[in-house]
Amino acid sequence: MTINPDLQGRSYPAAEVYDVGREKIREFARAVKATHPAHFDVEAAQGLGHPDLVAPPTFAIIVAQRADAQLIEDPEAGIDFSRVVHADQRFTHHRPIFAGDRLVAELHVDGVRAMGGGAMITTRAEIFALGEGDGREPVSTTKSSILVRGEGQ
């Protein structure tokens, strides 16, 4: 399969809402071997001035990869998931993610570049927290590059 070069510049609008739960923050924190009390104990988080449990710095990957799935599963994209290798990743937090946040992500395909028999695809997820009414607040910008390996790579 070959990667569709027309993907560059494509966007996928915010789809389903991701509700950030306390137990999910705790589960993710344990999975990355985090032990800071602000991930586990509401009083400890509030003691640092936060409204609720604080998500670990890479928690946004859950929301970003859900957004990425729209691209990876897009039959027009031509991406074989089993040949995908994560090449780089960046998180820019406009504010921390807290338990109770209701998040949505817009996905932008910023770059598609042929590499050997494969391709490097760079995506950016703009993650917002939904507020009252139509309001939404920027929470995180995540950028990732994936290498889709060609045969023999």
């Binding site: 990355v32 071997k33 710095p57 890479t58 089993s82 990743q89």
Partner: protein, 145 residues
């Protein structure tokens, strides 16, 4: 004691730690993150796509490595930016049932830059597996009080 911006110096060591990783850790990370790519938990699948064996999620390594910085900063919310490149895979041996780690990742950090205007420190992480850096340009921007 949480770090104080005025007391930091470029090159200052923030500490180090070793992280033992098992296949079960990868299954846990898959479940917690939703990334169920079988290259992270199935040997036959991984070798079938020309990998040397089951490898850790890059995001597992990235997520685990930053805990050194979070604990140093005293508040996970202090991490305002975090980036890396994934250069080498972390191959995790199957040690199921033995209690041994299938891989050990060594993480150390040092202050790489200071910005007085934004009161941020950039911590540069060295993340090593099997004698080789597995993350490159692993930089964590920390906002200090």
């Amino acid at each position: 004691m949480n770090p104080v911006f005025e007391e930091l110096a470029i090159g200052q060591d923030i500490g180090s730690r070793s992280i033992g990783v098992t296949r079960q850790d990868l299954v846990k990370y898959a479940g917690a993150s939703g990334d169920f790519n079988p290259i992270h938990w199935n040997e036959a699948f991984a070798t079938g796509v020309e990998l040397p064996g089951v490898i850790a999620h890059g995001m597992f390594t990235m997520g685990a490595a930053v805990q050194l910085v979070t604990d140093w900063a005293g508040d996970p919310a202090a991490v305002v930016d975090y980036q890396t490149r994934f250069t080498k895979p972390v191959l995790v041996a199957d040690t199921t049932g033995t209690g041994d780690a299938g891989a050990v990742i060594d993480v150390s950090g040092a202050v790489g830059a200071l910005d007085a205007e934004t009161r941020t420190a950039r911590v540069d992480l060295a993340v090593v597996f099997d004698g080789q850096k597995v993350l490159m340009k692993a930089q964590v921007l920390v906002k200090l009080a």
